[in-house]
Subunit: 434 residues, 2 copies
Amino acid sequence: MPHFLSTQDADFDEGFARLLAMKREDSPDVDEAVGRIIADVRTRGDDAVIDLTRRFDRLTLTPDTLAFTEDEIDEEIARVPDADRAALERAAERIRAYHARQMPEDAEWVDPEGATLGWRWTPVRAAGLYVPGGLASYPSSLLMNAIPAQVAGVERLVVTAPTPDGKANPLVLLAARLSGVETVFRVGGAQAIAALAYGTATIPAVDKITGPGNAYVAAAKRRVFGRVGIDMIAGPSEILVIADGDNDPDWIALDLLSQAEHDESAQAILITTDDGLANDVARAVEARLKTLERREIAGASWRDFGAIVTVNNLGEAAELADMIAPEHLELCVATPEALADNISHAGAMFLGKWTPEAIGDYVGGPNHVLPTARSARFSSGLSVMDFLKRTTIATMTPGALKAIGPSAERLARSESLEAHGLSVRARLDRLNEQ
Amino acid sequence: MPHFLSTQDADFDEGFARLLAMKREDSPDVDEAVGRIIADVRTRGDDAVIDLTRRFDRLTLTPDTLAFTEDEIDEEIARVPDADRAALERAAERIRAYHARQMPEDAEWVDPEGATLGWRWTPVRAAGLYVPGGLASYPSSLLMNAIPAQVAGVERLVVTAPTPDGKANPLVLLAARLSGVETVFRVGGAQAIAALAYGTATIPAVDKITGPGNAYVAAAKRRVFGRVGIDMIAGPSEILVIADGDNDPDWIALDLLSQAEHDESAQAILITTDDGLANDVARAVEARLKTLERREIAGASWRDFGAIVTVNNLGEAAELADMIAPEHLELCVATPEALADNISHAGAMFLGKWTPEAIGDYVGGPNHVLPTARSARFSSGLSVMDFLKRTTIATMTPGALKAIGPSAERLARSESLEAHGLSVRARLDRLNEQ
């Protein structure tokens, strides 16, 4: 049974605070082991990567076989059923169209003092995308990471994807092909992250690493951060559905379960103004849990972290939503746009009952790499911006320097930074001589 | 003596690689101590903050005196000389005008399938800005952190600024007043960061923490990252000046020294096409080092990490600049725009000989919080974007769902995520019934 709460309960605030504070992840402390792996890759390069791949993935590689060849990729891709290929192409196309609109503009203007100011965006030169192996090897995630990089104009895009026991995922290779990936290395774990950050003879170093992974991958990304850029460290999935009484309980139940089935630590919450719907959804979830393929995972998530909250009105729902700051937010209400305007903190919003969250995981267009664990309060999902950086630009004329230089000099002296002040003063003196 | 290199040297590549790899910072390992301080603040709140402030800042506070009162701020500000006040106001105005142009636009469009897609930017609700105490207590840094937050629309902006032995910096308080800061708490160190991240009875928790600080502050920011957002962890300052022969060596020397005077670990590099200028700048630096107030710091930085590199042409200079990816880049050449177009990786560029870097520290307009230690390869300076986050939005119509839903269902099944597929299928079935 999930947690049931109502804003009419006398102890609602305490119960809701407990729900928010729930610790859903026990991250095993692998930091030391990861430190050793990174040091090993830095010292021994390819040899270390090959040894570690033999040990963890039971796969024997050589520098020549670390990467898939074009022929190998062709061969794997040929096995993808036509309908899967068409669906993946559709997804790639829609994700590309959405992200193309995110490209920011350069700016340049002349200010009243005559100074030219502005900024310029340029892509990261090389990016490495991590794709997990085994069960969580999702071609959709590869698209969601690689396409923004491709749209940003990243020159060199490589993927590392472990192939335990040599088993590759043909759809992942097709996704790589569809999104401009240059090379796919069949390595994973902390050793792949270390190779991407520091480079080996065969795996060239990149400037930015993105993509999900297990505790080892997450710890390695934390450790190499600063040497290279990384995306967020994603926690378990979350969904918040806000629904009025005019909904099919089975649809809502499936939407909740589509997060719950990801992970026993995932969290699915329903907030509703309708007590009847609350009960009906609870029953519909139980019914679906009888037959769902991943019922063990989804059932555990729903039992431990699921919640149904009844509220008096949508205003209350909006307030709670901002406190939850969910990764995914579905608004299954009559006028979802109005409700959306009242909510500030969410990674992605899905408006109206015809927009199940799963659409956003694949073909909606927006990115599915989104802030978890309430971090939507201060961060955003993956985007083209993650693969760009901005250089600010300033050009003074003699006139502009005359106008604003004295203020700079004054502030420099007030901060006891004499050379700062002198560098401005030397130029002002020259202008005054002229 | 700084390092002298020339691209004509047979061993240039090795020498330049050594320059790039130079370890300039020895960060003392304070992580354990910081862990204890954070735990203490989480457990004992105000009491811990007060005890630690007594111990580290030799200042006895109570919950009532943790923050400056309005009257206290008025009193301190009254001591600011008029010229300093005017300069600070000038700086605030120009920084505000520049950052106002950074506000990104929301987007919404209807795609060919009839789906409405887009995104929306919203500000972080509450931000905490850290201002160091003592020598590095820079009012300009407060402006550079607070104004972007204010422009972004952050509702609640607080500052923590230690006042060792009770000594406040009136200019810092004036800068806070000029940039919409609500409260200034006279606490610092890891205890201030912990209080901002977790909240105490008197210091309310925020969602984002920015601002420079010592090793304790940096370690605390790393530890609370995830609970709240943080800006970058800044390393020691850097400047790269690219100059042709037509320059005043003294100006270039002062520009180099204006970074070197920050910190013994700062790095100032000159790349020039002119051997004569190389020698003249070296001499001019030595001459200025005889009288400069901070000559011990600047001298150590220049001796240990300074470098003068002579190159055959500006093409070589651009290549080296991209490898250095400097925090500050001055282009003192005849056509700086053309050279700027050939360089991708730099935090901020200053074009032409009338644009000393120090202008950008105070009154230029662009932010002076910039990526260091080669991280301009993958990251940008502080901006309005650091105080905003983006929520993506998608609204399907029945028609749009019919068009793209089957692809989502197909991909969900290929990833063995049954509930994802069913959440789409249940809706498609309803549409097919109709």
